[in-house]
């Protein structure tokens, strides 16, 4: 999957979990400050990422800082794919 396509899919997941299209255009939106994500939605997103991309993220090792903005989510997931 090319990077752009991957980023787009991540953003769509984020938009669906966070129930807002704002994340599609504003990549620097502070997700937790704007309550796009909270604890419940973070775990929903973790589940959906596993289903869609087969990337396994441990909720027990997760830190919010890594998903501060849509841009950060994409970067974090790209890194996990590479590892």
């Amino acid at each position: 999957m090319i990077a752009e396509e991957f980023a787009d899919k991540v953003l769509r997941l984020l938009a669906s979990v966070g129930e807002t299209d704002e994340v599609l255009t504003n990549l620097d939106l502070p997700l937790y400050d704007y309550q796009v994500l909270d604890s419940m939605r973070t775990v929903q997103l973790i589940l959906m990422i596993e289903e869609q991309f087969g990337i396994k993220i441990s909720a027990a090792e997760f830190e919010r800082e890594r998903w501060r903005t849509p841009r950060a989510v994409i970067a974090d997931l790209e890194q996990r794919v590479r590892l």
């Binding site: 129930e19 604890s39 419940m40 775990v43 441990s58 909720a59 027990a60 997760f62």
Partner: protein, 485 residues
């Protein structure tokens, strides 16, 4: 022995035993008894014996327990208020409860320090023991009064049915003290001389620390909303290696999905899963059932169980006629666990409570049916919904939205996924709107509303309309709005 004496008795027997763990704070039974006596004597000395409630404003601090017992030992009910609530809501609750005093953990620590001894008289059987405020459809929270007798009946049933081991249990406290699910863990724990293990807000916000703390908790009895367990289950390590002592999961407050029960039984083969049901107005829970493989095989959705001893469940139609087995109707609860009503609101009390064969009875507004002698919950007669176990009246959110400047009208509708409400969407028409994008506008409205309502009541999504759709008889067309989601 009444419930308060029972807790004091535990303190006398094992003063060094740990009553409460919350973050880094630890409270022993000896401290709980001594400090709650001190608070009771302070209250009696300074406020007399007028029986007015004491509002206790905090989060999961051990001082909360001290103040609860201190209040009832001075013959006053307590009103637990979580600091997560916005100031406007706190003020509303304090005002409508006519609280004699609002206690914070700092004050409680100070009052505990000077044990000036005056004789205090504890709350009587039929006196209010606590008052819990829940969402009211007109935008004002209403206070449910629960007496010592109600609470004793509920706890007595729990202790008989669950056979908790004396002094050996660690109870998970996930629900805030302002939510009556916490009454189950708090008093089952204190009356058996066990330890209450609180999950604080910081932990819930940081899953990493949450799992780490669960792993050290030694929890034997897990009491939470099903949503909280579902959230924990996302982590594969959430299994018996993380919580080797857990023997039972007790769920109440919202619908337990069969998948959640199945997953838990697979991950915790040594534990039992129980489903329970009941409104705050009938003291925490009224029915229960042990969910085992056989029940899971037979029923989906799951039953909420059999009624507690000495109480009755009736299923009635809109004319108050009892329905027969397997017919749907409103769930009515009759018995010694039913609350005397709403504080200072005889109008609301008269609408929902009545006398039935010498007992108090409560019209839950819940729909259900009895099948195979088991109660099944099937939704609401009105608009009320449960989100993560929190009871929300959309009318409450709407009234508070309309109170904001620039909002002309508002309707709030739940978003349903897999048959369960996931979040709220607000449809708003504004008096005038500026040029800012919908997202910014929504964010501002949400923040303004957040100054009036607790976070769990805030709509997730805002949709701006020029006017709300109306039905032929002039009401907001909720069905049309729900369909547009």
């Amino acid at each position: 022995m009444n419930l308060i004496q029972r807790i004091d008795h535990r303190a006398a027997a094992t003063p060094e035993a740990i009553a409460h763990v919350s973050g880094d704070s630890i409270l022993t039974y000896g401290q709980l008894r001594q400090n709650s006596d001190a608070v009771a004597s302070y209250l009696t000395q300074h406020l007399g014996e007028d029986g007015r409630p004491i509002a206790v404003l905090g989060h999961r601090e051990p001082e909360m327990l001290i103040a609860f017992l201190g209040a009832v030992k001075s013959g006053r009910p307590y009103v637990p208020i979580d600091t997560a609530l916005p100031q406007t809501r706190i003020d509303q609750i304090v005002e409508s409860s006519h609280a004699a005093l609002v206690l914070t953990p700092d004050q409680i620590r100070r009052f505990s320090a000077n044990p000036s001894r005056v004789l205090t008289s504890v709350v009587g059987k039929n006196d209010p023991f606590y008052i819990l405020f829940t969402s009211g459809s007109t935008g004002e929270p209403k206070g449910v009064v629960v007496t010592l007798a109600c609470l004793e009946h509920f706890i007595g049933w729990m202790l008989t049915e669950q056979q908790f081991s004396k002094c050996g249990e660690v109870f998970l406290n996930q629900a805030p003290f302002s939510f009556d699910l916490s009454v189950m863990d708090l008093y089952c724990s204190l009356t058996t001389g066990s330890t209450l293990f609180s999950v604080t807000r910081d932990l819930i916000e940081n899953p990493k620390n949450l799992y780490r703390s669960l792993a050290t908790s030694g929890v034997t009895t897990w009491i939470s909303t099903p949503s909280f367990a579902q959230m924990c289950l996302v982590e594969d390590k959430f299994a018996d290696a993380m919580l080797p002592c857990v023997r039972r999961f007790l769920f109440c407050g919202e619908t337990l999905a069969p998948q959640t029960a199945t997953q838990l039984l697979a991950r915790f083969p040594q534990a039992q899963v129980w489903n329970m049901y009941g409104p705050t107005e009938a003291t925490v829970a009224t029915t229960s059932i042990h969910i085992d493989a056989e029940i899971l095989e037979k029923y989906s959705p799951l039953p909420v169980g059999r009624v507690m001893p000495d109480a009755k469940i009736l299923i009635m139609d809109e004319n108050g006629t009892q329905r027969s087995e397997n017919e749907r109707g409103e769930i009515i609860i009759v018995g010694p666990n039913v609350s005397p009503g709403y504080l200072g609101r005889p109008d609301l009390t008269a609408r929902a409570f009545f006398e039935c064969g010498g007992w108090r009875a409560y019209k839950t507004g819940d729909l259900g049916r009895i099948r195979d002698q088991l109660l099944f919950f099937e939704g609401r007669l009105d608009e009320q919904i449960k989100l993560s176990g929190y009871r929300i009246e959309p009318g409450d959110v709407e009234a508070n939205l309309r109170a904001l400047p620039f909002v002309r009208d508002a309707a709030v509708v739940p978003v349903i996924k897999n048959g369960a409400p996931q979040s709220l969407t607000a449809f708003v028409s504004l008096v005038a709107r500026n040029e800012s994008a919908d997202f910014k506008l929504a964010h501002n409205l949400r923040n303004q509303l957040g100054e009036r309502l607790p976070a769990y009541m805030l709509p997730r999504k805002f949709v701006f309309l020029d006017a709300l759709p109306m039905t032929a008889n002039g009401k907001v067309d909720r069905t049309a709005l729900a369909k547009s989601l």
